[in-house]
């Protein structure tokens, strides 16, 4: 009998009991239980550093871009001083939305309900009827918009956390969290291409995250890419690739094909730094930011209830790349990933029905299997000073994500999480 079968159906929140790391088993309820989802919003999304946008999307004062942190809608602005602000998109008067556009440029945000007007830094600057109705008995300084507790950028990628006790962004990311962002940033001279793809999939957000580490599925899920002639060497290119896994504190992980420096010739400094000639492996910045192959695209997986995820695709290019290369990379981006991508269009339904498969009373008695490679691999130091396992296709990345998930969910606070999270494993995994 495995550990999960002993979990009573009305378990008190003891989230470690939902993930059996040693046996590589995950309880299906974490994908479809409404109460667990609400706890995720509190203990993961309102606590973590969440990806907001890239600074190139809000270059000038007044530029704004909307995003979400769990159920909290936020507006990321560049204020008059040039600082980046992450403001709750909810009026302090009755809670109405103060910014309805997805992006754009504004001088201020006037609430369309009664007209409270907020500056780009969130300060309440105008209140209709201040004198006549409020009799000047309202302290505007105290009624500015709610804000993220902390906003920081790494390589121009803006992150925000709602928890004042969160560690600094760089500490949070650690080595493993930085790899993908360093490679995506290249020499720093990058910008997000105009146009963020957005679509909704009827899956739990973790099913989407889980899949980015999954190098087991492509030869089946994406077999049409090969057989349609779109990517004729697809299967061959996967089967001959060594795999690597990097695992970081707080749930960050990287998994996928390893292209070693000696096999390739065109290296960027970031790639050399990590001893990864081409990033073919996929990093996830916990909880929900996937950086794709070679860092051309970021995929953000926004939870929208236990049974829905909104997928956002950001495409990043170096400024001033030759027109021909830009055209190639652009078509690659829309032809591979996104809802119309020849590969990704086959993913969504699998994630949705995997999620659906966690609802049934009887189905829930059977934990999901995440044990591929468990106990068979060894974390070793690279000459560049990083720990990684070099191996074959495996499920270490997924299992680490769920182990970390349980630690986030059991922690009462950032202090608790800092004190009680697992260190990145060394030795056998």
């Amino acid at each position: 009998m495995n550990k999960l079968e002993r979990v009573p159906s009305q378990a008190a929140p003891d989230f470690a009991s939902f993930v059996d790391y040693e046996q590589g088993l995950v309880d299906r309820r974490i994908f479809s239980d409404e109460a667990i989802y609400q706890t995720e919003l509190e203990r993961i999304f309102a606590r973590a550093w969440n990806f907001m946008c890239h600074e190139s999307q809000i270059k000038e004062p007044g530029d704004f871009f909307q995003n979400r942190i769990g159920d909290d809608r936020v507006v990321i602005t560049r204020d008059k001083k040039g600082d980046v602000q992450v403001l709750l998109n909810s009026c302090r008067h009755r809670g109405n939305v103060i910014c309805r556009a997805e992006q754009g440029r504004a001088k201020s945000f006037m609430c369309p309900y009664h007209g409270w007007n907020y500056g780009l830094d969130g300060k309440l600057v105008g209140v209709p009827g201040m004198k006549e109705f409020y009799r000047n008995d309202l302290n505007k300084d105290e009624w500015g918009l709610g804000k993220a507790a902390k906003v920081e950028s790494y390589n121009g990628f803006v992150f925000a956390t709602m928890d004042p006790d969160a560690p600094p962004l760089e500490e949070y990311l650690g080595d493993v969290g930085k790899v993908g962002l360093d490679i995506a940033a290249r020499d720093g001279n990058i910008e997000v291409v105009n146009g963020v793809q957005k679509n909704r999939i009827g899956c739990n957000w973790k099913m989407a995250v889980d899949n980015l580490f999954d190098w087991y599925h492509p030869t089946v899920s994406h077999a049409s890419a090969q057989r349609s002639g779109f990517f004729p060497q697809f299967e061959e290119s996967l089967s001959h690739m060594d795999q690597m896994v990097m695992i970081g504190e707080y749930g960050h992980a990287i998994a996928g094909p390893l292209v070693k420096p000696e096999n390739e010739t065109t290296a960027t400094p970031a790639q050399n730094r990590y001893g990864i000639q081409q990033l073919k492996a996929h990093p996830n910045i916990f909880p929900n930011l996937w950086i794709t192959l070679q860092g051309d695209q970021l995929s953000l997986r926004l939870p929208n209830g236990p049974f829905e995820t909104e997928i956002w695709w950001f495409t990043i290019f170096q400024k001033g790349i030759p027109e021909e290369e830009r055209r190639l990379r652009l078509s690659m981006a829309s032809h591979v990933f996104g809802p119309g991508g020849l590969l990704e269009q086959d993913d969504g339904e699998n994630w949705a029905h995997s999620t659906r498969g966690t609802k049934g009373v009887a189905s829930r008695r059977y934990p999901l299997h995440y044990a591929m490679g468990k106990g068979h691999d060894q974390m070793v130091g690279t000459p560049e000073g990083h720990m990684r396992a070099e191996t074959v296709v495996n499920e270490h990345g997924q299992l680490w994500t769920y182990k970390s998930w349980a630690e986030w969910m059991d922690a009462e606070s950032w202090a608790d999480l800092k004190a009680n999270h697992s260190p990145a494993p060394a030795g056998r995994i």
Binding site: R100, E102, V196, N199, L342
Partner: protein
């Protein structure tokens, strides 16, 4: 189909009302036949209705403020949902026959409703046509998608037959409410 020499050439303004009507009739019949090919899953036949130089494109639409409507859609050279040439469309169609195109297995049921067909320009043997569409997809037992929007097509007469040499698709949704875009528009 009528012989090529019967079909009017020039610009729309050159057409007398009767010629305009006949052209409208031809174009509508062509678009309805095309929609039938898609809904009947005659995808190889559908490919034959496209010229070799077709540009099949669907930009990203955003909710923007009224003073920034010029930025509502992404432009060519920005990110999009589709930016396909004929080769890519052939891959999309070939995919469906591989037995591994999971988004369309078992095959979805689609219905293309094409309305509000308007001739908006003509230049020599090319005609610009705008139409509205409702593409309905019924999938598996209970899944449904509805995409509404506008298509801006450029049709060209090739050996007397109309073919599509440009299809630009403008959806009304900003956040797409569908799992994927595995249908053809």
């Amino acid at each position: 189909m009528r012989a090529a020499e019967d079909i009017p050439m020039g610009t729309l303004q050159d057409l007398d009302p009767q010629a305009h009507m006949l052209l409208q009739f031809d174009v509508e019949r062509f678009l309805y036949d095309e929609a039938a090919a898609l809904d009947d899953r005659r995808f190889i036949e559908w490919l034959d209705l496209l010229t070799e130089d077709i540009h099949y494109w669907m930009p990203i639409r955003r909710t923007v403020n009224a003073n920034e409507l010029d930025q509502e859609f992404t432009q060519i050279g920005d990110m999009s949902y589709f930016d396909d040439d004929k080769e890519m469309l052939k891959h999309r169609v070939a995919r469906l026959d591989t037995g591994y195109a999971w988004a369309e297995l078992p095959p979805s049921r689609t219905r293309h409703l094409i309305t509000n067909v308007r001739l908006v320009g003509m230049d020599g043997d090319e005609i610009d046509v705008e139409s509205n569409f409702h593409l309905y997809r019924s999938r598996l037992d209970t899944e449904e998608d509805s995409w509404f929007g506008k298509r801006c097509d450029r049709l060209r007469r090739v050996d007397g037959q109309l073919k599509i040499c440009r299809r630009h698709i403008f959806l009304d949704q900003t956040v797409l409410l569908s799992t994927n875009l595995s249908s053809l528009f």
